[in-house]
Amino acid sequence: MENNVNITNKENKFRQDFAIIAGWVGFGSKVLDLGCGDGELLTYLRNSLEIKGYGVEKDDANWLTCLQNGTNVIQMDLEDGLSGFEDQSFDTVILSQTLQAMHNTEEIVQEMLRVGREVIVTFPNFGYWRNRIQIASGGHMPVSKDLPYQWYDTPNVHLCTINDFDEFCNNYKITVIERKVITDGIEVSFMPNLLGNLAMYRLKTGQ
């Protein structure tokens, strides 16, 4: 897989999570990427799948980079909800590695399901064994490549495990169409809540 030159980001580095998201997004579809950063994922999806994409980004510098990249970008705070978007007006709404930093976690997931026919959510799995070891052995909150913050400066206010998110979907009657878990770009199917560090969910409303 690492030799696949078609699925690379701007640093020419293979992004397994992007590849999985691309597999869940239809060719030429309409995509909304919430917390789109510098627009890297949308640029990738535009180049590979000719999507009609819009990003939502709060940060000035990221917003400007999106514009410079030719990514349509709406500046707003996701915590305010998605009232600027009509019901079911997008094929797919994506929240990539941002869920854990949201205060209104429940509301944003419901809003995504309202706006998108399908929803993709990815987040760092707090149940990953390295995180568990840091707490269990060192007695400290985990600090790693994926969770690079100290407890006192982290934007990640709602970290959860794969088990937690499965339960969340069940409680809110959200259908998990597909779930993939990866560690260092490789898919994990055995004991994902222990061995996976990035959880990826493809969701829709109802059960």
Partner: protein, 376 residues
């Protein structure tokens, strides 16, 4: 040569286009003939694909950039945006500034002379609308041999014209930059206009709009109208930072100018009353009040934008309470509903509505980035 003059469009001059074909206005009246005064900066390319139209707001005009003479104290009203290597780069674009109908800077308006009677129009000059302005601007483009605009740009009332361009002439507009604007005015916003108009109309020197014949102008009314306007163009914080409670001298227990803020408002009011026409002010505020493209579509702005093809940049400023970010978001939503290409920036700014004319670094970086992507 200084940095400023190197980036300036330099010495400019205005031109006048005369139109003999009648223009039917939204209110049903017909202007049998009219003049539009305009300026251009940069060169129109061979394929005539690099033209950008600047639409002015309430008190603006066609003098958008450059100076008429080296000794001019002030350059055009959006000079910080337009020039060689500036965000709206005149090395790339051919920029057109135009004074709107009913204006007082050379285009046909209440203070201009009727062709037949050789008297001023005065009160008889029609109440024009944003739609009429855009139709007259389209005539100017025809006159210049320009079929399609690379972009139309406007702030505030100018943003309404930019939006209207995309509705009325979807095939003639590639990009619209709608800045600090709204799809219509709120009741509060119209209320400020009404107070401004009442100040003018109740001035004893107004003479029902025919003050020219009495060799006078309703100076006091226009002055108060402008003072009111200036309060609403700034944020509370901006006024606080600029003036606070600073006194000119010590408290005198009088109604003279004692606070710095009063000095500013009186200065702005006096300056404006000395150079602007009250009848124009009345008409500009009415054009603001009347603009409401959703009205014919049951209040549904998304339906009003059904035929729009242009790509959009919509910009608002956090402290602008006269044209708040919420109003810009309404435009963005209607564009998204129509699956149009749009980016929206909400610029953090202290200066309220006035921010759209200021050279804030991030704001200008946004306009520069967007305009660099515009193909000509």
């Amino acid at each position: 040569m200084s940095e400023i003059s190197r980036n300036s469009v330099g010495i400019v001059s205005a031109q006048t286009a005369h139109f003999d074909a009648p223009l039917t206005l939204k209110n049903g009246e017909i202007l049998p003939q009219f003049d539009l005064v305009y300026e251009t900066y940069g060169e129109l390319n061979a394929s005539k694909s690099n033209a950008v139209l600047i639409c002015h707001a309430l008190s603006g005009n066609h003098h958008v950039a450059g100076k008429y003479a080296e000794t001019d104290k002030n350059a055009g009203w959006w000079d910080n945006l337009i020039g060689p290597n500036k965000p709206l780069d005149t090395n790339k674009f051919f920029v057109i500034g135009v004074n709107n109908l009913a204006g007082c800077h050379g285009s046909s308006g209440p203070s201009s002379i009727r062709p037949k009677s050789k008297k001023t129009y005065g009160s008889s000059f029609p109440i024009v609308t944003v739609e009429d302005w855009v139709n007259s601007q389209a005539r100017l483009l025809d006159h210049l041999g320009i079929e399609t605009l690379a972009a139309v740009i406007g702030g505030s009332l100018g943003g309404m014209q930019a939006l209207q361009w995309t509705i009325a002439y979807p095939d003639r507009i590639k990009h619209a930059l709608v800045i600090a604007s709204a799809p219509n005015l709120t009741a509060q916003n119209m209320a400020f206009n009404e107070v401004a108009r009442q100040a003018i109309i109740t001035d004893p020197e107004f003479y029902d709009g025919d003050y020219y014949a009495h060799n006078t102008v309703p100076r006091r009314g226009l002055r108060i109208a402008r003072m009111l306007g200036h309060i609403t163009y700034l944020s509370d914080d901006a006024m606080g930072e600029k003036f606070g409670r600073k006194l000119k001298d010590k408290i005198k227990y009088s109604f003279d100018v004692e606070f710095e803020m009063e000095s500013y408002l009186r200065y702005q009011g006096d300056k404006f009353a000395g150079e602007f026409d009250a009848n124009t002010y009345l008409r500009m505020t009415r054009a603001l009040d009347y603009y409401d493209p959703a009205l014919e579509h049951g209040g549904d702005l998304s339906k009003a934008l059904k035929k729009v093809k242009a790509e959009f940049l919509v910009v608002s400023f956090t402290s602008d309470w006269r044209f708040s970010p919420d109003r810009s978001r309404e435009i963005v939503k209607a564009l998204l509903d129509n699956e149009l290409t749009v980016s929206y920036a909400e610029v953090t700014a202290l200066h309220g509505h006035d921010a759209f004319l200021m050279p804030d670094a991030h704001y200008h970086a946004i306009l520069r980035a967007y305009l660099q992507k515009v193909e000509v």
